[in-house]
């Protein structure tokens, strides 16, 4: 089971696109990528979950850990997600109130330029 992680720069945002299944096996790669982005000085991180086929609490833990890490440097981490199955997991765990969730990367980057 492979996890696809791709980073692009968009208008000052580091856009991390995630593809595949995020669980206890693949989450360490995802966590490492987020840590690396923050360590490289990225303070505006957008995680695009549109390519994610499965996400459980381990993946949620990575997202929350990434948010805490970037906020400790006065940055922010937002999500792109329109998939009902992923939004449901975020809603059940109360994380829709914690993360800013955008409908597309374009919308997020536009909001970021505000």
């Amino acid at each position: 089971m492979d996890l696809g992680l791709d980073v692009k720069e968009r208008s000052g945002w580091a856009v991390l696109s995630v593809q595949g299944e995020v669980d206890v096996y693949t989450a360490p790669q995802f966590r490492e990528q987020l840590i690396q982005l923050v360590d490289q000085g990225q303070r505006s991180i957008l995680v695009d979950l549109e390519g994610v086929e499965f996400l459980d609490s381990t993946g949620l833990g990575v997202l929350v850990g990434g948010l805490k890490r970037v906020r400790s440097h006065d940055g922010d981490l937002a999500l792109v997600c329109t998939q009902r199955r992923i939004l449901k997991v975020l809603e059940i765990t109360g994380l829709t109130k914690v993360f800013t969730i955008h409908e597309s990367v374009d919308a997020a980057v536009g909001d970021g330029q505000g």
Partner: protein
């Protein structure tokens, strides 16, 4: 009168096998008449949560490892009124999924919230070999028989 159909699967308690458990249970639920895709997704999440909980707890109980990781035994019982997934593991493998008190907001609390929300019943039982987490989906009124 329909009878129960039982499928059993045993996986090593290692992270790379959680996807196998999820895929097998999802496939079995998929051939069950009338179960909506959304409920199959729910079941895949809960099975992933349960197996992950067991794997993480067992990693902290090396005395149970012996010559390698212990196994998790999954029994999928497709009955006329319910679909049950029973996951048996050695020791107290599901403590993080069923803590004595509600934990602080973290991965464990997310796990508990998801298990509580996505199956109709979840029960922890002692077995001669350890503990068994029983996850139950009731047949919806609109499901095919």
């Amino acid at each position: 009168m329909p009878t129960d159909r039982i499928v059993e699967l045993e996986i090593p308690a290692r992270p790379e096998f959680v996807g196998v458990a999820r895929m097998a249970v999802g496939a079995l639920a998929g051939i069950r008449p009338g179960l909506a895709y959304e409920r199959i997704d729910d079941l895949r999440i809960v099975v992933s949560e349960a197996c992950t909980s067991a794997i993480e707890m067992l990693a902290h109980q090396p005395s149970l490892a012996g010559n390698g990781p212990p196994n998790l035994r999954l029994r999928c019982i497709d009955g006329p009124k319910t679909l049950e997934i029973r996951i048996e593991a050695p020791g107290s493998a599901f403590d993080s999924a069923f803590p004595a008190s509600d934990p602080e907001p973290d991965v464990d609390s997310f796990r508990i919230s998801l298990i509580r929300a996505l199956v109709d019943d979840a029960e922890l039982r002692s077995t001669p070999g350890g503990t068994e987490l029983c996850l139950v989906l009731h047949r919806d009124a609109g499901d095919a028989p």
